[in-house]
Symmetry: C2
Subunit: 276 residues, 2 copies
């Protein structure tokens, strides 16, 4: 399995000023590629914390670590120094990064902008890293190979993060994962308690190793318990995955019906062959 971790940097995530929707977006994209983020760490704008978080991620044999946020010009933007510190390297002004920034300013009709210390900071990346073109904003991303791991540093502004992820990160993860298909479906059950579902889920998990079956309680409506269910498997062939998901759903639904509950709704995923 390809292990991906994310480190999201910024005090605004810790104070609740900003909800970590970057993590949500990355989680969806990476899951769609056939793997899943293994762990997300959110740390403060602090050299030591950033550095420690990256060391921990690397110690868990992550193939890819995506570090988001803290690439800007202000003093609290210290991700690239933290990343360099974690792997025992220095940082230096990178000419390719400067060229990307000059190009960015020129496209916005700001060719004459002065490269102040704050601007030069955005082109100051860890030794041995490669700058990544930012088509949306100013600060380039950076890519750094550390042993068998690849560390990507992306800006925290969502549009910039997404743009660099799609152009520079996703292709590399896809290349490593290979072509895997994730078959999944979501459906809603009514009239059954999660406690009564639990043994049915255990049984299916035993019979379908590697499958993902999860219940999300959605409370009571007029005294009737409602539960949303996710079922997913990752398989080489879409056909095999879809069939297996259908089988799991069939088993669970028929046992729920025996217990007096019912299938309420399906959304997304493949149509499930019923009965038979």
């Amino acid at each position: 399995l390809v292990r991906v971790e994310a480190i999201t940097v910024g005090k605004e995530l810790l104070t609740g000023r900003t909800t970590n929707t970057n993590a949500t977006w990355l989680g969806k994209r990476i899951t769609r590629l056939g793997t899943t983020i293994g762990e997300i760490t959110t740390v403060d704008d602090d050299l030591g914390e950033i550095s420690m978080a990256l060391r921990s991620s690397l110690s868990r044999s992550s193939d890819f670590v995506i570090v988001v946020g803290g690439l800007g010009p202000t003093p609290d933007d210290m991700t690239l120094r933290g990343v360099a510190m974690a792997v025992g390297r220095g940082v230096r002004v990178d000419q390719r990064a400067l060229a990307l920034m000059k190009d960015h300013y020129a496209r916005r009709g700001l060719g004459g902008v002065v490269f102040t210390e704050a601007r030069e900071k955005m082109a100051t990346i860890p030794e041995g890293s490669t700058p990544l073109r930012n088509d949306v904003g100013t600060a380039p991303g950076a890519k750094l190979e550390v042993g068998n791991s690849v560390v990507f540093c992306l800006p925290g502004v969502p549009s910039e993060m997404k743009s660099i992820f799609l152009s520079s990160v996703e292709p590399e993860i896809r290349g490593k994962v290979g072509t895997l298909h994730r078959s999944k479906t979501t459906f809603r059950l009514e009239g059954i308690f999660e406690s009564d579902l639990a043994p049915m889920i255990s049984k299916e998990l035993r019979e379908h190793p590697g499958s993902y079956i999860k219940s999300h309680p959605r409370g009571l409506r007029e005294g009737v318990s409602r539960i949303e269910m996710d079922v997913a498997v990752v398989r080489k062939e879409k056909r095999d995955g879809d069939a297996e998901v259908g089988e799991i759903v069939d088993h669970i639904v028929s046992r729920v019906v025996e217990k007096g509950g019912k299938l309420k709704q399906r959304k997304g995923g493949q149509p499930v062959r019923r009965g038979g």
Copy 2:
């Protein structure tokens, strides 16, 4: 400083199915108490991952660790076992937890419900821990003291998490933090680039140790750069904190105006005394 960390458990947070709004809510509440969450770790429904995440948090001398999610009846709910494993303890069915659950069912007119294995699992908590009453749902929380740290385990359903946090967690954090006041303000600048703001922010951070000054770029509108600014300080006296925030804002705004930018908007916080 009182260190609080959060560990949010659940594959749905890693796949992007669910956005981690529990972390946002906790971040806001804890910041309002005069401290800040130091780190948020999001891990999978996996015994080893949960256990490792808690060990890491405890190794960072956290006063409080809030573990959210994974207290339910299904097989992927394994937080309490993971927590116990992290601190070298076992788990056992707790009579006080069972009583809380029976009380919960009785209130819902389900006094006769059978205590199946799945239900008993929700009353199976780490040895030496105290169950926490859940006024909203079934699974009790748990509180566990480990050395100088206190670990709270809360359900992942937002309404249940919030209810137990407010009744059982917040009072303890407040007691440890003491009465501190956080003065803060948010304002919007226009017509200045973040790179040009950076040295102004550095100067204020030097002159106001412990203050929090952060710029959030909000893109261009009709070619004009827009930036949202947060300024905050934590002080014993509200009066002192408000005055210091006002001073910082005055300094930054007057330098921004010198550079041709302007103050656009303020929201929240205390009115800032201008001029003088």
